[in-house]
Structure formats: structure tokens, C-alpha cells
């Protein structure tokens, strides 16, 4: 598929859980995650986000995050990545789910973004 999804959360289980939830409706969309710190702690880590970008099968990515530093680390990773990454300030679970479900049926990015706009919370 043209677009993939990256989930960034402070907690590994949240990222893994969102992935599990959305893969149910988007089995062909590549979903990769960066959850928590390397040592299992709570936080976000730019290097882990870079890895999630690289491991994603798509060259164009829609990225979703939970709180605070997740966005800052995402922005730094985006500056360093060769992939085209779109970052959304939307409710994590709902927007990742919406995007994945729409991407699965080949919805145009423009139309996906229209739906995402409604979910902006930060």
C-alpha cells in the first residue's frame, strides 16, 4: 500500500494495543510502533521513532502520537527521515483507527485528512 501508519506512545503497551486494534480493520496497511523507552521505561525516543519509520513497508507515513514529547521527538525524526511523513494532532486511538480503516480501502489522503480534522484535540 502507498501509505503506512506509525504509532508513537510513551508506553509500549499502548502503542502495541493501538496497532492490534487497527490491524483488525486494516490488514494490508503497514503499521509500526515506537512505544516507551529502550529500557522499557515510560517516555519517547527519537531513535525508536526513526526505526518505526524505517521498518514501515510504506514510503509515505501517517504518524499519530499521545502526549507532549512524543510530538517533539516525532518532528525531529521527520527532519532526519527520507520518508514523507504526515503528523496529526489528533486523538490517538480514534484517528489511527480512522486513518487505517480508510487507507485499507484506498481512500485518497485528502479525504482521510478531512476525517482526521474532526479528531483534532491538541
Amino acid at each position: 500500500m502507498e501509505y503506512g501508519v506509525v504509532i508513537v506512545s510513551h508506553v509500549a503497551e499502548i502503542a502495541a494495543g493501538v496497532k492490534r486494534l487497527i490491524e483488525q480493520v486494516a490488514k494490508d496497511v503497514s503499521v509500526t510502533t515506537a512505544g516507551g523507552l529502550e529500557d522499557g521505561g515510560v517516555g519517547t525516543d527519537m531513535a525508536r521513532i526513526m526505526t518505526a519509520f524505517e521498518e514501515n513497508k510504506a514510503d509515505k507515513i501517517l504518524a499519530f502520537y499521545d502526549l507532549g514529547s512524543a510530538k517533539m521527538n516525532l518532528e525531529m525524526a521527520i527532519e532526519m527521515s527520507d520518508k514523507e511523513v504526515h503528523l496529526y494532532d489528533t486523538a490517538l486511538v480514534e484517528s489511527a483507527y480512522t486513518a487505517a480503516a480508510l487507507l485499507q480501502v484506498n481512500t485518497k489522503l485528502e479525504d482521510v485528512e478531512k476525517q482526521l480534522k474532526e479528531l483534532k484535540v491538541k
Binding site: G43, G68, S69
Partner: protein, 190 residues
């Protein structure tokens, strides 16, 4: 004009205070955040010290870059990308003139966090510090005053923004650690 040795001294001073005040910084982060600021900074500074101690650096920008990368990769909270970007922007100045370095650090923090003065963040320390340093008037008292000023502010950025009005009455932890960093610089300058 700072040279590589001054920067090392600066980081050593800062690391000492951070390790000493680690619990206090996390305590400040408890009522208005997630209680990890001291641990985050201690972990980050441990990585910085490991990366610069007994290492040779060609010039001030290269040691700043190494410090930035350590902070970005090891801090784990918002202060990681914020301090990391501050040091990255200082590296871009290309020399050790604090009159240029502090404003560059502030610009980096603003770029990364998009906070403005009055939002109860580290920006409330870097903004007056940047103005004072231009006038050769950066002092311990000036820094302490800026740190203290965050106490009565309502947080609208970062973790503390989630508790809204309840953030009033508490000093911002990132403002406190920024105060330590600036005072460590004054001490290194002698």
C-alpha cells in the same frame, strides 16, 4: 568566549547539580507533571559526561553537537528534545560567544516546543536570560528570579497543562533545571 575546556567545565558543573538535585527536580515535577524530570535529566547528563569526559574535540561546535545527541537520545521526556535542540542551535553559531549562544539556545527551545513566555515552561527562564546576557547582566539573582516567576503562572504547555489552574503555586521543573544550567555556565566562566 568559551573554549572546549570551558564547555567541559560547564557540563561538569551542571552534572554535579543535576545528580545532587535529582530527587528535588522530580519532586517539582510531581504535582504538575509525571515526576520524572530529575531522573530524565540525571540519565541524560550521565550520557553527556560519558560522551565528553577524556575525549578530544576540535572546537566548541563539535562538543555542543555531542552534548545535543546525548540529550536527545537519553533524556526520554520533553526536556530531551528541548535541551537537545538548544545545544544543536548553539553548535550552529560556530563560536563560543555566550551573547550569541544563549539567544540561539532560546530560539531552539522555542522552535521545538512552540511555547511563548508566560506558559510556565523553561522558556520563562531562557527569555530573560537571553535579554540579560546581551547586556552583560546575567547573574545568579537574575536567574533565580526568572525561575521563581514560574511559580504563579498557569501552565498551558506540556504535561503541566493537563492540571490547568492547579499548576499555580509550583515552580516549573524545567525552569529550575534551566536555571541550574545557566548558573553552571556562570560558574564555568569564573
Amino acid at each position: 568566549m568559551l573554549n572546549v575546556e570551558d564547555v567541559k567545565k560547564w557540563m561538569e558543573n551542571f552534572d554535579n547539580v543535576i545528580q545532587e538535585q535529582r530527587a528535588y527536580l522530580s519532586d517539582l515535577d510531581t504535582p504538575i507533571g509525571d515526576g520524572d524530570h530529575g531522573n530524565n535529566m540525571a540519565r541524560g547528563m550521565e550520557a553527556v559526561m560519558a560522551a565528553i569526559t577524556d575525549k578530544d574535540f576540535a572546537d566548541v561546535p563539535s562538543i555542543f553537537k555531542t552534548i545535543a545527541m546525548s540529550l536527545i537520545s537519553k533524556v526520554g521526556g520533553a526536556s530531551g528534545p528541548l535541551y537537545g535542540t538548544a545545544f544543536m542551535e548553539m553548535a550552529k553559531i560556530g563560536n563560543g560567544d555566550v551573547k550569541e549562544l544563549i539567544p540561539a539556545a532560546l530560539a531552539g527551545i522555542e522552535k521545538r516546543g512552540k511555547a511563548v513566555p508566560g506558559e510556565k515552561t523553561m522558556v520563562d527562564v531562557w527569555t530573560p536570560a537571553s535579554a540579560l546576557v546581551q547586556k552583560d547582566a546575567l547573574t545568579v539573582e537574575g536567574i533565580d528570579q526568572a525561575v521563581e516567576s514560574t511559580k504563579e503562572m498557569v501552565a498551558t504547555k506540556g504535561r503541566a497543562s493537563y492540571v490547568g489552574d492547579r499548576s499555580v503555586g509550583h515552580i516549573d521543573p524545567g525552569a529550575m533545571s534551566s536555571g541550574y544550567l545557566l548558573k553552571a555556565l556562570l560558574k564555568a566562566e569564573g
